[in-house]
């Protein structure tokens, strides 16, 4: 099993997919919608990109398939749900703090901190 630092940095799609799964299990389409919300439509995942990422994330143990079907009535039974693993949670945290470090470094250099801009 890889350790979180080995997986960093994450690509933007992987990072946002993990964030989308941070609070609940979602199916592919739900992940895409949540990623669009997180990024103000800045990142709109296509099916190929999304499932390609999920495939690699499953292989790396960042996410797993869920047997539960949270909203059964609404749903088509062909849908699969994905859930973040403990490793996934650690990894996305590590990535977030890495990004935070990068952002504060950028702010310090560019004089953007403290609303001075």
């Amino acid at each position: 099993m890889p350790k979180p630092p080995d997986l960093l940095p994450l690509t933007p799609p992987v990072f946002h997919i993990l964030l989308a799964l941070a609070d609940e299990e979602r199916h592919g389409y739900g992940i895409m919608q949540d990623v669009a919300r997180q990024t103000n439509d800045g990142l709109q995942l296509g099916p190929g990109t999304l499932y390609g990422c999920l495939k690699r994330m499953l292989a790396a143990g960042l996410v797993e398939e869920s047997d539960e079907r949270p909203d059964m009535e609404l749903d088509d039974e062909r849908r699969r749900y994905y859930r973040m693993t403990t490793l996934g949670r650690k990894t996305v945290r590590a990535e977030a703090s890495r990004l935070a470090g990068a952002v504060s470094a950028a702010n310090a250099r560019l004089g953007l901190a403290g609303g001075k801009q």
């Binding site: 592919g28 895409m32 709109q44 296509g46 190929g48 499932y51 390609g52």
Partner: protein, 307 residues
């Protein structure tokens, strides 16, 4: 509208590797369908649909390449490439006819595959055990390296085998004392040029090296005698062919093979086939359908015996 898009998308899924498609194909289709429905619900305009389609095409291109990944891609192409290299180096060779010396049977711009193993002599080569082969016969059309410049490949018809006595009498070939009736021969002028049409009675020592050698050592009693392990070849377009009359015999190890099939025939002048030029590329691109001689496609240049 949605139905059509979804059907197109389900076909596009076949570009993904099999395992990927089997595992995620259904979900991806569902995803795509949901996305289409969302656009309908939002009463998207044609601009939004257009962007949606473009974005999905981009996603498809990028992700199929990614999923097919270097390893798979290389594996698949490596096999194809190896087969191609094997076939083109040992079995066949592609060749374009640049001149009209075989006019009547083979035209300028005929693109053909030459069978490189058809004339291998029995036993000397592994391929002779695997592939059909036979000896060169009189009347065969053959491709060979031009003895005066081995970088060029010529296509002509075999008229004389080793030991044959050849001469021309007013354009007609006399072989071993017998006048040939050659259904394949074409004559483009009625005038008689003694060197060309009453060969070899009017030797001209300004001819090419091989020709001079032939006149010096292979002419006897007004006839050329074909030496061992060589061939005497003539173009079917007799009055306009640079052939054995001018540069002598083809050593049998200069043989490349026999034309197998014409896979494409494109009507363009000799100069386009002698030297590569951009105008020719443009010509092909613009006039592919009109200047291709469709009736010649897959034609087999047959050997034809003289009577």
């Amino acid at each position: 509208m949605i139905g059509l898009l979804c059907r197109i998308y389900s076909v596009m899924l076949f570009a993904y590797p099999r395992e990927f498609r089997l595992r995620y194909g259904v979900e991806m289709q569902q995803f795509f369908q949901d996305r289409c429905r969302e656009h309908v619900r939002a009463q998207a305009g044609s601009g939004a649909w257009f962007r949606f389609v473009l974005r999905n095409i981009a996603d498809w291109v990028v992700s199929t390449m990614r999923e097919r990944q270097a390893r798979k891609l290389v594996q698949e192409w490596a096999v194809t490439l190896l087969m191609f290299l094997f076939v083109t180096t040992t079995l066949v060779q592609a060749y374009v006819v640049p001149t009209g010396s075989m006019e009547g049977n083979i035209l300028v711009g005929d693109h053909m595959l030459v069978d490189k193993v058809g004339f291998e002599n029995g036993g000397s080569n592994w391929s002779s055990y695997v592939l059909p082969h036979r000896d060169v016969k009189r009347g065969d059309i053959v491709a060979f390296r031009y003895p005066e410049d081995v970088r060029q490949t010529f296509v002509k018809r075999v008229i004389g085998l080793p030991g044959d006595r050849i001469r021309l009498e007013n354009k007609h070939v006399v072989r071993n004392g017998q006048k040939l009736d050659e259904p394949y021969a074409r004559f483009s002028s009625s005038g008689i040029d003694d060197y060309r049409d009453n060969f070899p009675t009017a030797p001209d020592f300004s001819t090419l090296g091989g020709g001079r050698k032939m006149f010096a050592s292979n002419v006897q009693g007004g006839e050329v005698i074909v030496p061992p392990d060589t061939l005497f070849v003539l173009g079917d377009n007799r009055d306009n062919s640079l052939d054995s009359r001018y540069w002598g015999f083809v050593p049998s190890n200069y043989l490349v093979g026999k034309p197998l099939v014409i896979y494409w025939s494109f009507d363009a002048p000799t100069s386009d086939y002698v030297e590569w030029n951009l105008r020719h590329v443009e010509d092909v691109a613009l006039h592919f359908f009109t200047k291709t001689r469709w009736d010649r496609t897959l034609k087999i240049p047959a050997s034809q015996p003289a009577q």
